[in-house]
């Protein structure tokens, strides 16, 4: 692992730097941030100053502090959601591939039905019915996203499933759990890992866009998407405030993608 990191290209290292920086902010938000997440400390849309590094937002909260808390809310939320969607998607995908027959047919058709709806509209529909709280947000996005994970895991597992070592395990009389966890999963890790990075990005953009539409994290919680929306009006006055959270979103997305690129290269065994 350490050897692998040492051989990583510059682009991947930049990506890892960005990601680690965000994780660091998220973990120690309450220590680093100079002000509270929700307290009003200054005037509306104050400019950059010694007191407020990045100025203040539309009701006078410190933008720098909110950026740091936002990192925690957005990144942690996206991470939990992605993990959940992978748990659901890949276990169902593997079961479908190994079991085959009607199990595969049933699961695949249900997933197809879910995928037939545009994701954003589906999410808006569910969230406006059940209401937007952190648990519902996580579950909804995880389930919607798990359909993509299902597709990939099923395809990857199908390729592995036809190998003779899986056949040998079946002939030995091994159960479903052994075949999935010992024979298929270790061989499916590289493509799934690359997909994990990509999915993480999408989830996190998705939360940002839901927040922008008012159905993501609810105010006064800070999250980057929501912060863009709250401060969007400032742009007409030539104030940079909404651009800062937007830039943070862009930056993290690029960073994660740089890592994913490297992982994809590793897993496909391509040179250069």
């Amino acid at each position: 692992m350490i050897k692998l990191l040492r051989q990583s290209p510059l682009s991947a290292r930049i990506g890892m730097g960005i990601l680690l920086f965000n994780v660091f902010l998220a973990l120690f938000a309450s220590v680093i941030a100079p002000y509270e997440e929700t307290s009003v400390v200054g005037d509306v849309w104050e400019s950059f100053s010694g007191n407020f590094f990045l100025g203040t937002d539309h009701i006078g909260r410190d933008l720098f502090s909110r950026m740091i808390y936002g990192a925690r809310n957005t990144v942690a939320l996206a991470f939990v959601t992605t993990v959940l969607s992978f748990l659901i998607g890949s276990s169902l995908g593997f079961i479908a591939a190994v079991k085959g027959g009607w199990v595969d047919q049933m699961l695949s058709r249900i997933i197809d039905a879910i995928m037939a709806f545009p994701t954003l509209i589906f999410a808006l529909m569910i969230l406006s019915v059940v209401g937007s709280s952190i648990p519902t947000l996580i579950t909804t996005i995880a389930i919607l996203d798990s359909t993509r994970v299902y597709r990939l895991s099923r395809a990857v597992a199908m390729d592995i499933e036809v190998m003779e070592f899986v056949e040998a395990a079946r002939l030995r009389g091994e159960g479903l759990w052994w075949i999935i966890s010992q024979e298929i999963l270790p061989n499916a890790i590289p493509p799934l890992m690359a997909e994990f990075g990509l999915r993480f990005c999408f989830v996190f953009l998705f939360i940002a866009s839901l927040s922008f539409l008012g159905l993501g994290l609810q105010p006064p919680l800070a999250d980057w998407g929501g912060m863009v929306r709250e401060n969007a009006g400032a742009i007409t006055f030539g104030i940079y405030t909404p651009l800062i959270p937007a830039a943070a979103i862009a930056c993290l997305t690029v960073g994660v993608n740089l890592i994913v690129d490297w992982l994809l290269h590793l897993s496909s065994g391509l040179q250069d």
Binding site: E164, F165, R170, L171, R172, G173, Q182, E183, P186, N187
Partner: protein, 538 residues
């Protein structure tokens, strides 16, 4: 006669383990018009690398370190890409092992033939088509006028391989490099391709490099043979002389006719451990791929199941193991009627019937260590864990002649083909089976490595009285190891009996053809056979 191809002091290096390491050492080679030079050796001997280097080409991660490659006065060693392109195809052409993979499946065969000469500006489209038909005729392809209009999937393996040879001839090169052109083919179709190669080199007066691992095959077509090992020349000589009087021990080893088995008698009194009756199986539900299969395997004996590809022999293995449940019939194993579907068989039945596969690469999970691969059946069937398991694994590794300390912690990917196959055997043995089905277990391996595996299986049988159902298309293997032979054609058993009985005439018509198609270590064998076939044809 002047030399068409002249290779001098050729050294090729490959890049692995972070540095350039030599893989071909100081090879000298000359090729005259009308001559066929056979390059023979096991995999890793560097024969394909030399074959490609003759065209000034190396695989990715390799480079020609030094030496000279001269085709009719043109030096290829430091030639530019542009010059190389002019030489390739028009002066020297290449025929690869797998024709099926070398054709574009969505274009007609003749269009693919015509492409190169038209591209090179040698002739017009119509003219090239006429040439194609002429060459198809010379290579004995059926209905040469229309065969080119078919798509690649509409031709058989042997026909495709000949169409590939024809394609290599399209720009009228002087030299052709044949890289294992018959390795993927059955013995009966191999003959068609060999006849085509002979036609080209003898009557059309071309020169050829013929690369193979099968000495009997190269003896039919080559005038001279170079024996290679680990990138070095072992021995070179005229075909007849080399076969009659090989100088080096390695060549003699390759030449040795295999005979491993001490004759064992089969009597009707011996326990029948597997009794198969009236089996029928189907993939689609409409057509039966297996019909009326009756088969007995006795304790401590080996039954060889022989047939061409597509004869249903591997399907039969799948039916017996229960992976493809038969639609009717019965399987009696160790005196008990067992279910046709493996999912409904009990654990003990599964344990007693083990299988070894053709491709050791895909039969072992690349992410598992040897310890886990062999340890799993021990734990699964007998509940052996911890120190006891460790001891049993080491014992099994010693049995399959691998050093436990070196191998026990290796991943499957860190083993060679032969070692992998040995681990597969150990995995099967760990279950203490009564019957092992061996599906073409040596066909993916080099001759000498494969023989090592056969030796091992033989040895294990003598010690533990295990039975084998041995599936193969290689009659030499059959002669070496079988007690009983079963011959299959188109999903039916057409002849079965004791080895002697089947191998001594009178044979079934098909058995006769199969036996006659196995190349013998005699340079005149192909000519005699073709003469004979021609005379019976007329």
């Amino acid at each position: 006669m002047d030399n068409l191809l002249k290779i001098k002091n050729l050294n090729i290096e490959g890049f692995y383990e972070d540095r350039w390491q030599p893989i071909v050492h100081n090879i000298n080679l000359e090729l005259k018009r009308g001559e066929v030079l056979g390059l023979i050796g096991e995999s890793g001997a560097g024969k394909s690398t030399i074959g490609l280097a003759a065209m000034g080409y190396t695989r990715q991660g390799c480079r020609i370190a030094s030496g000279s490659i001269n085709i009719e006065g043109i030096e290829l060693y430091d030639a530019s890409e542009e010059d190389l392109r002019l030489v390739r195809g028009s002066k020297i052409a290449y025929v690869a092992q797998s024709a099926a993979a070398s054709f574009n499946p969505s274009h007609r065969v003749i269009n693919q033939y015509v492409e190169a000469p038209v591209q090179h500006g040698l002739m017009a489209y119509d003219e090239a088509e006429k040439e194609a038909i002429d060459i198809y005729r010379r290579l004995f392809l059926p209905t040469p006028e229309t065969i080119g209009l078919r798509y690649p999937h509409e031709l058989s393996g042997g026909q495709l391989q000949r169409a590939m040879v024809a394609m290599a001839m399209s720009c009228k090169p002087d030299i052709i490099v044949f890289d294992e052109p018959t390795t993927a083919l059955d013995v009966t179709t191999q003959i068609e391709v060999l006849a085509a190669v002979k036609e080209i080199t003898e009557t059309m007066n071309k020169a050829a490099l013929y690369i193979t691992h099968d000495l009997a095959v190269v003896a039919q077509v080559a005038n001279r043979i170079m024996v290679l090992r680990n990138g070095r020349l072992v021995e070179e000589g005229e075909t007849r002389q080399l076969i009659k009087k090989p100088k080096e021990a390695y060549t003699r080893e390759l030449l040795n006719v295999r005979n491993l088995r001490q004759e064992k008698s089969i009597s009707d009194k011996m326990d029948v451990i597997l009794k198969v009756r009236d089996l029928k199986a189907t993939y689609t539900g409409r057509e039966n791929v297996l019909e009326d299969i009756d088969l007995d395997v006795r304790k401590g004996r080996t039954v060889a199941l022989v047939g061409e590809s597509g004869s249903g022999k591997s399907t039969l293995a799948r039916v017996i193991t229960g992976l493809l449940p038969a639609i009717c019939g019965s399987i009696n194993f160790l005196g008990q009627e067992i279910p046709l579907d493996f999912k409904t068989r009990d654990k003990d039945t599964l344990r007693r019937l083990q299988m070894i596969y053709q491709m050791p690469d895909t039969a072992l999970n690349p992410r598992q260590t040897v310890r886990k691969i062999i340890g799993r059946p021990l734990k699964f069937y007998f509940g052996i864990k911890g120190r006891e398991a460790e001891e049993r694994i080491r014992e099994l590794l010693t049995k399959i002649e691998l050093d436990p300390d070196t191998y026990i912690d290796r991943l499957a990917t860190e083993l060679s083909g032969g070692e992998k196959q040995r681990i597969c055997i150990a995995r099967a043995l760990a279950a203490r089976p009564d019957l092992i089905i061996c599906d073409e277990v040596t066909s993916a391996l080099d001759q000498l490595v494969g023989e090592g595996i056969l030796d091992l299986l033989q040895d294990l049988q003598n010690k533990t009285n295990i039975s084998y159902l041995f599936i193969t298309h290689d009659l030499a293997t059959v002669k070496a190891i079988a007690d009983k032979i079963v011959i299959m054609l188109e999903g039916r058993i057409i002849e079965q009996g004791d080895k002697k009985e089947v191998l001594t005439p009178p044979h079934h018509e098909y058995t006769d053809k199969l036996l006659a198609s196995v190349p013998e270590m005699d340079p005149d064998w192909l000519d005699n056979l073709l003469d004979k076939r021609l005379s019976t044809f007329i």
